[in-house]
Each structure stands twice: as structure tokens, then as C-alpha cells.
Symmetry: C2
Subunit: 338 residues, 2 copies
């Protein structure tokens, strides 16, 4: 899922997203709640209509942003009191509010309110945090009124296998439409993340989608798919695009590199996206060096197309039982060039 | 002509331009000469291919930018020695170099090298400047080698009627494919500009295009068309778009205005552009307040569509002999709202 934090996937239009192969995007409840406000979006017909994106949208619960972006916050059993990072104003969001906001925004998939424990946190903190997240998940389910939105629960538990198991089992008992793994990609090393994914996913039902939040690089995604993860969101393709880093079939490409100054080839010779079909590396480099706004758009279209194709290729590889072969090939292309 | 200074009309793609009704754009020789360099663009197949814009392009001579942007410059009969505004490096451009660069870039219309006298300048300075511009125009014509590019001469002469007449008569004797009025919109008041346009245009042939450089607001354009001007370039539609000012059939609109926060109507209810067909004032305001990159693109598409329609309407009004009526209506819409 490309990330459209404030109701726009940065630098691209809905048509660009569609052409790049995006079939669902993520929007951030916290940001839209603060600006322009969920009631405003609701009165204007909901988020799909507001941003002119008719395909599926997933909204996060706002939890992660409340913990990571706000200057001051107080967590109680009821929910979280926090200050806006925009104007310092005081706000309260608990599980009931998170569901109400997401129902007003009107996404297709909404998320239960959770506490994302900081990393690293000691066992006792994470144990209390899992209890809180579990009770908030129950209250999120109970609050839900709309029948046309799927609700996912978020498994927490830090890097502790037994707490992850407890969190997963409790959520599965409640019966969500899908399950997310939260509290990963927060600073832990790769092998720790892999261990936690592997330990947790066994407690989740095979017939429901499993979503790894905030991941990741192409290698991270391939890794996680090998563990059985189905869904991802990450700012990496869009943010890296704006920083001039392109993901290609030959690995990562830094477009400002002088060697591209007169290179008439497309960024990725194995890519049929709008950018690669119409523009040379030389032009992409020029736009980036000259800080032209078009640079951000063309790079973003390419990276999103790359990620869409990565996911499509993974689906095919799974169907054709070539996932190991495909994974090995992708790891090689990234190791070789970076 | 929308302005694509560095080989990109800021914030939009060639397809956006086409859909907005643009049929010719301007690119700046000075900027492209410095970065990425005309030889680079030439080796990559010329400017049309470089920027993926198959329709006509006009390049200016570089003269105006050399005078207005560079920190240090020395003007001699040969040409101008100047420092790059990017890295301070020293360069020389005279009429021969300006033509060579423009032939390498490969635009459809190229401009003779001129001196644009500062405003205000005394009579003696402008008199010498017209002599220089006249001799440079001759040398530009003599240097021209390609037969698939039109070459326009630039009339100078400051605000002095007799010098404008001399400049125009000399250029017409030489026989250019079109004529531009330079040295206007440089700080003079509106009535002075109108006087100079009116005094100068009589000395230019009716069967050649006349191009007023760097103008202007919708009212300025309607004024100038009433005097017989055919072509314009201006950064106003694109720059104002990025500053959140939209041109509409009801006058200028400041999109960040709080009154648009929940306004579900399109920016201009009489506009069928991509932006007005798909997005509300509320969304455009939100994107602008949140500094989303998409804001610049959507606003630019609208303003360019507005300007294209303005020019198309003026052509129709001329054909149907309703130009006075059309002009009065446009003046009213802008006076009423601003």
C-alpha cells in the first residue's frame, strides 16, 4: 500500500497511482483527524470522494502517530491525551474515538486502536502494553457500527515471543477480519524482526489477511512474504523517490550520479512504467538536480510501479511454487549493486 | 506560452500541458545552457525529445536572463561576459553563440540576441542599446544555419517612441519570421506600456506574428490583444498556481481562504479542466495548507487551462467581431472580485 498520509500519496495523482498498479492505499487517521478534520471529510462525502480515489483505502488507528509524532502524551486505560504536532492543541483519542473517526473517514479497512510500545522496552512494560492493546481491541470491536468496513486487530508484544503469542491468541479469539503485526520496523535488527514474524504468524489464521505494518525494503518484503505475510505499507518507495533513489531490476539507483548526465536509457530497462517509457536517466537526473517538481512525480511513479510489480511477481511465484527461486534472484540483484 | 524555464513547466507533465490546451511552450536558453548544457541536450536528441514534448517550443535568446539574473556582466559590441548564478563560473554569449545554442537545443521558434535596457534608462543609454540590438539582430540572422526554425527579432527602445520606431523599422528591413516586443513589463506603469505597444505595433507587418514578451495578467493580455499582439509568455499562471492563486471566470481566488474549507464546489464552476472536474475547493485548500506536492500540479493545470481558454476565447471573439464586448466582460469579472 502506497502511503497517502494527508489524503494524497505525495507527488502523484489517483490516475498516476492506478497506472502504477496501486490497488489499495493507506491514509493516516491521526493526520486527517487534525487537518482538515474527519468531520470535514465526512461532510464532503468521505475520504474516497475527497481525494478522488475510488479504490480501497486502509486507515491506521492513529495510535502509532500519537506515540511517535506528538510532543506530549499521557496514556491511561481510557486512551491517549496528546498535543497536536501542528499547533500544540490538546486532544484525546481512545479506541472508541479511533473507530468513530475511521468510520467517518470511511476507509474500506480500518484498524483497532493499539499501544505501540517504544523499542527497546522491558518485559513488564510490554506485558502491560499488551494487556492495554487487548482491551482496546475488544472495545474497538464493540464500538464498530458500520458493516461495510473490515476491522483488523494489531498484534503487539515487542520482541518477546510469549507476549506476541498472548496478543495474537486473544485477538484471534475476538475474531477480526484481518490481523496486523505492529511494533516492528521500530529500530530492531533484521534477524530479531524475522524471529518475531516467524514466532507470531503461526498463531494467526491462514484464511485471514496478515499485514506487516511499516515494512519495508524489497528484501524485507520478500523475506516477510516467505514467512506468510500478505500486506504491507511503507513510505520507502515514495520517500526514496523524492530523495532521488530509484528501485530497479538491477538494484538501487542514485539518479543524481554524474554518470547518468548523458545516459539516454530509461531508469530501468525492464520497466514499462510511464516514467521509464517516456524519460531518460539524463532527464531524470536534470530534473532532480534542478529541483523541478516533476522530478518527484516521475521518480514516485517509477518506484510505486516497481513495488506493485514486486508484489505481483511474488503472487505469481507463490502460485507457481517458485518463491524460493524468485527470492534468491531478488536478493542477488540488491546485493550486487549496493 | 506556459514557461518551462529549465526544460519542465513547473509541476506539470507534457500530458498535463496538452490536456490544459497548451500548444506551444517557452524554454529559457540561459538556464538550459548552464544546466544541463545545450550540448548534452543536443546529444540526447534535442529539447523536444529530452523533455518529451512533441509540440512547438520557443526558446528565448538568453539575453534577458543574462541581464536580470547574473551577479556580474560586461557588455561589449561582441556580446556579454557574465557569471553563472549557479556556480559563479564565467561565460560569454554573443549573437552568434545565442543562435548556435538555440540551434543545438532545436526549438521551433528561436530569438535574436538583444540587449534589454534596464528600466528606467536615459535616452542616450537606450539609443546606444537599440544600435547594439540592431547590429546583434543582423548578426543573429547571418549566423542562422538551420532552415526548420523560425527566427524572431526583438524590438527594443525602452519607453521612447522614436527609438521603438527605429528599432522596429530596422528589424523589419532585415525580414524576420516574427517580431517580439522586448523591454516591457519591467517596472513601467500600465499606461506607459500601453502607449509603447500602441506606438510600436504600427511599424510591424500585419502578416507576421507579434509577440509581447513576459506579459501578463488576463487584463494585460486582453489589452494587448486589442492592440494587435498575437503571442505571449508569462510565468504568472504557473507561479501564481504554486502560491495558491487561481484565475477563474469570477476573478482571482485565494485557495487558502478559510471560507473554502468545506466548499465542495470546483474551483471554477465554468471550467472543465482536470482539476475542476475531479476536486473540490475544500480538497485544493487542504492540499495547499498541507503543502502537498499535488497542490502545485492541480493548481497549475487549472491556471494553464484558464489561460488557454482565455486565448481561445479571444481568437473566437476576434473572428466574430465581439472583441470589445469580450474585453469589457473580462475586465468586469476581475474588477468585481479584486
Amino acid at each position: 500500500m502506497p502511503v497517502g498520509t494527508k489524503g494524497s500519496v505525495k507527488a502523484v495523482s489517483p490516475e498516476d497511482l492506478d497506472e502504477a498498479g496501486a490497488r489499495i492505499i493507506l491514509a493516516n487517521t491521526y493526520h486527517l483527524y487534525l487537518r482538515p478534520g474527519h468531520h470535514t471529510i465526512g461532510r464532503l462525502g468521505g475520504l474516497h470522494r475527497f481525494m478522488n480515489w475510488p479504490r480501497p483505502i486502509l486507515t491506521d488507528s492513529g495510535g502509532f502517530q500519537v506515540y511517535s509524532l506528538t510532543p506530549l502524551r499521557t496514556i491511561t486505560d481510557k486512551g491517549v491525551i496528546f498535543q497536536s504536532h501542528i499547533d500544540g492543541s490538546k486532544h484525546f483519542i481512545g479506541p472508541e474515538e479511533a473507530i468513530d473517526i475511521q468510520e467517518t473517514l470511511g476507509a474500506d479497512i480500518i484498524m483497532a486502536f493499539d499501544e505501540c510500545a517504544p523499542y527497546p522496552s522491558d518485559y513488564e512494560y510490554v506485558q502491560r502494553s499488551v494487556k492495554l492493546t487487548t482491551s482496546w481491541a475488544r472495545r474497538s470491536l464493540d464500538r464498530k457500527k458500520r458493516n461495510d468496513q473490515a476491522l483488523f486487530g494489531i498484534v503487539q508484544g515487542g520482541m518477546y515471543a510469549d507476549l506476541r503469542e498472548i496478543s495474537a491468541r486473544k485477538l484471534v479469539e475476538m475474531g477480526f477480519d484481518g490481523y496486523a503485526l505492529g511494533g516492528l520496523s521500530v529500530g530492531e535488527d533484521q534477524s530479531t524482526r524475522q524471529r518475531v514474524i516467524g514466532e507470531t504468524i503461526n498463531f494467526l489464521p491462514e484464511d485471514k489477511p496478515v499485514y506487516l505494518m511499516g515494512v519495508g525494503t524489497p528484501e524485507d518484503i520478500v523475506d516477510a512474504v516467505n514467512f506468510g505475510i500478505d500486506m504491507f505499507d511503507c513510505v520507502m518507495p515514495t520517500r526514496n523517490a523524492r530523495n532521488g533513489t530509484l528501485f530497479t531490476s538491477a538494484g538501487k539507483m542514485t539518479i543524481k550520479n554524474a554518470k547518468y548526465a548523458e545516459d539516454g536509457r530509461p531508469a530501468d530497462e525492464n520497466c514499462d512504467c510511464y516514467t521509464c517509457s517516456n524519460y531518460s536517466r539524463a532527464y531524470l537526473r536534470h530534473l532532480f538536480m534542478a529541483r523541478e517538481i516533476l522530478s518527484y512525480r516521475l521518480n514516485t511513479i517509477h518506484n510505486l510501479s516497481y513495488y506493485s510489480r514486486l508484489m505481483a511477481d511474488l503472487r505469481t511465484a507463490i502460485r507457481e511454487e517458485r518463491i524460493a527461486e524468485y527470492s534468491a534472484k531478488l536478493y542477488r540483484s540488491y546485493r550486487k549493486n549496493n
